[in-house]
């Protein structure tokens, strides 16, 4: 068997094994099982039963995640440009960036609700806060890691500061930026769901996956909770995929990490 077809068959095999073990544990649990560990087919039933709710919750969460993530990309980029200018600027702003990152979301959530009210605005801001740090740190690192000789080359050609930044430092920072982007892309849906859990619209209107988690857990609908987890996971994969795709689009032609090797 070729190694290529093996690479398709093996994951299917582990998946089947995993599901087999799942059913076996359910069998061992006996009567308690129905509550503790819903089986895959029960989760699919929950999907059918709560389809509309799950779909609109996923859409709401996606909206918060996309807007928060997009804002984080744009603003972190501008912020990283400012941070990259001099060590003095970095030294004076970094500690506050750390404070932002160190403050747990569950502490910020009530404050945000106080300021902007529950709902999409709060969810977006929480997503933004979670994505902002990895993006800023990576992009800044990229902007200040430009090859010294290239900087000298530009200086010898008497390049302006703007030419140095946009023709040299920004493209050279792209691999770092995309490292941050891939991390942030996986964090964005998690941020939106966590944000929604604490600051989603609990007033009876449109909620996201976080809010739905509260609803289903209060109703002891465990199969529906598993379905919510599956939807969250799918959203996470979608975002991660977009992050990886964007990185590939911009880097695959030239960056060493995409070079083809024999192995």
């Amino acid at each position: 068997m070729s190694s290529k077809s093996l690479s398709y068959i093996l994951p299917l095999f582990t998946g089947a094994l995993f599901i087999g073990i799942w059913y076996f544990i359910r069998f061992l649990l006996g009567d308690d099982g129905q509550f503790l560990l819903p089986t895959p087919h029960e989760i699919i039933e929950a999907f059918q039963q709560h389809g509309d709710q799950l779909w609109s919750a996923t859409l709401n969460t996606t909206r918060g995640a996309v807007v928060g993530f997009g804002m984080a990309v744009v603003i972190s980029f501008i912020f990283a440009l400012i941070l990259s200018l001099t060590p003095v600027v970095r030294a004076s702003l970094y500690p506050y960036l750390m404070i932002l990152q160190m403050t747990p979301i569950i502490v910020l959530a009530p404050i945000l609700i106080l300021w902007v009210g529950p709902g999409l605005a709060s969810v977006t801001i929480i997503t933004f806060l979670i994505c902002f740090f990895p993006l800023t740190v990576n992009t800044t690192q990229g902007l200040i890691s430009t090859d010294r000789n290239l900087v000298d080359l530009f200086a010898m050609c008497r390049a302006t500061k703007a030419q140095e930044i946009f023709m040299l430092r920004v493209p050279a920072a792209l691999p770092y930026f995309f490292t941050g982007l891939r991390i942030a892309a996986t964090l964005a849906p998690i941020g939106a769901i966590v944000g929604d859990f604490y600051a989603g619209n609990s007033a009876g209107g449109e909620g996201g996956l976080g809010f739905l988690t509260i609803v289903f857990s209060s109703q002891f609908k465990n199969a529906a909770l598993f379905a919510t987890a599956a939807a969250s996971c799918a959203l996470g994969f979608l975002f991660a995929g977009i992050g990886i795709g964007l990185a590939w689009l911009s880097l695959h032609k030239w960056h060493d990490s995409y070079a083809k090797t024999d192995s």
């Binding site: 090859d147 000789n149 290239l150 000298d152 080359l153 530009f154 200086a155 010898m156 050609c157 008497r158 390049a159 030419q163 023709m167 040299l168 493209p171 050279a172 792209l174 032609k253 030239w254 960056h255 060493d256 070079a259």
Partner: protein, 257 residues
Amino acid sequence: MPSPIPIVKFDEVEKRYGDGPLILDRISFDALRGDFISLIGPSGCGKSTILKLISGLNPISGGEATVESISPRNAAEELAFVFQEPTLLPWLSVQRNVEVPLKLRGVDSGRRAETARKSLELVGLGSRANYYPRQLSGGQKMRVSIARALSLSPKILLLDEPFGALDEMTRDHLNEELLAIRDQKAWTAFFVTHSVAEAVFLSNRIFVLSANPGRLHREVVVDLPYPRTDATRQSEAYQKLVAEVTRLLRSVEDDQR
């Protein structure tokens, strides 16, 4: 007959970085148009620093330096630099890499493309214009780097140990190519190297430097005729010069122990 005006003149030039130790101590020389000068000496003798001073990238700390009778800082148009590493922008094609200095000088895109194409042909890489640097070998990358420097049509070419990382065969080939291109373009060259053989093969003058602080220890005149070929390397005169420079270099290094 009045003596010709030197293209680069150093008069008692000193260099230190900030409050640091003296890097270069009273360096004086006149470089004439068409000279090919190699700088050789132990690590820390400030060979690369001399190139940076000529380029105007770093200011001198004492003495006087002129390029084309003006301060190096204002003479940027006259020179081009080839670094130890190829120093290419990996996200740009070979063609666009060669165009970078021209773009920085505001040359319009049509003339840029034309000049870059000619430059690449000169180094034998006309067919690789659309490649990305990672698709090239070490020697090819260095050729692109040289093409980029040549695209500026410099009067002075500063080369900071450009072939140090290449294998000997490739290095020999590139040395011959470099001289062949120089036949057409007639720039003045300053060439930093660790290889005595390379220095003798390329230069008409070799500056042997000593370290801590960097001083001009001795100048060796290489009176082998150009054009130089592989046959030059076999000649007795060449081998005698290599032996002489090697001995000088060794005595400089022994003095430092």
